[in-house]
Symmetry: C2
Subunit: 220 residues, 2 copies
Amino acid sequence: MLFAITPSGEEKSAAAMGMRRSFLAREIICQQGDTAECVYRLGHGVVMLYQILQDGRRQIVDVLDAGDYFGFGDGNVQDCFAETLTDCEITVWRIREAQSCPVWCEGFSRGVQRKLGAMHDHVTLLGKKTALERVSSMLMRLVRECAGRVCRGAPPSGYATRIHDLHMSRQEMADYLGLTLETVSRAISQLKRDGLIELPRPSQIVIKDPCRLCRLAVLH
Amino acid sequence: MLFAITPSGEEKSAAAMGMRRSFLAREIICQQGDTAECVYRLGHGVVMLYQILQDGRRQIVDVLDAGDYFGFGDGNVQDCFAETLTDCEITVWRIREAQSCPVWCEGFSRGVQRKLGAMHDHVTLLGKKTALERVSSMLMRLVRECAGRVCRGAPPSGYATRIHDLHMSRQEMADYLGLTLETVSRAISQLKRDGLIELPRPSQIVIKDPCRLCRLAVLH
DNA sequence: CGCGACCTTGATGATGATCAAACAACGTGG
DNA sequence: CCACGTTGTTTGATCATCATCAAGGTCGCG
């Protein structure tokens, strides 16, 4: 499904020409190696970006939330696959047109700058953290109340019963965290044994003790 | 040394207000936790970005070349230390002023987009590659002739005698690659034993067989 | 009910970390 | 110029974490 936004009036600028597209869960948006003509912005849903090496090893390099831009590379070719994890709303621009629009560029600059900071944190996770720290850090992404970095104050009342959806299989979490699915499973089991989390079902999680989880995650 | 560029006339645009600064090797440009008012662009030289966790673990999250922008975070606070590895020329902008200038934003967008693609590759390195592959990949950075990704054609004549400076200690390479200095040293020794490289001195390297090195690096 | 996909748990093994010592490079001062 | 100390690198021996291999368990669905 592909349709143009018809901007209501103040519409000269090429940047507003973005196309809205809807995707179901588990659809591929673009492929590593595609000629990179487009930039994307995730409006709603969850998307993962991954690279595949010749021998088949897969690394999930990022998991995107609403507001994130994607579609990068060396300028000519997409460097990643992008695949939806949930139903998604995505805006697509032709990169040449978008980049010539100042308003668009400013929003893009801020978005990509923020993303780059998040990538730095993920690099530190992959380079220095233990398996348990990695899994804890990933789960802390779910704790939005912690404002991304510092866990200030107590979690909101009722938080200890809130159910989060993970959206990823153990294999996908493993490919994201630089581990194997078994190691991810073991870490999750340990967190459950220690009472930090509960799993109503394998793909859902309740975070009973976000503060202790935050400490385990070592979010500098 | 700090002096303003005095733009000769077209003095309206905030973007032109960047300050040029010179740094010697091994100077710290900005610190993790600093309030993030500035964005930087490396004009000449080599800079590393690193994060430090509470317990002292250090991860070098990026090594920058001429043209790269840096100075990121969650919008308020620098997420990294930035330290020069060589003498450097750097341009500094107040982020608020710069971001309001369309011309600046366009250049920044492109730069950061390219950098994000490079970070994806580095995440894949950290998440999936073996020690030898990591070290080989790092050394391939030195082979500019390979255009970053694909090693097309033969290296230029005389390349097998060209001496590259590494600029980093074994410990720094290790902190960049998610390894220990011993493992880095062993990988380098193996590449030397196998005739892929030579080390006129520990901090200098000659790449005798860039094609074989490229294959070892598994640059997807 | 039974099949398939995914997850958990256990046993074993390999890669890279840690611990330790020798070696090389470099600068300083006698 | 050479002894000397400092710093960084290489190499070896051992260890731990996580990967691999394997089996059993849970859940959903035809």
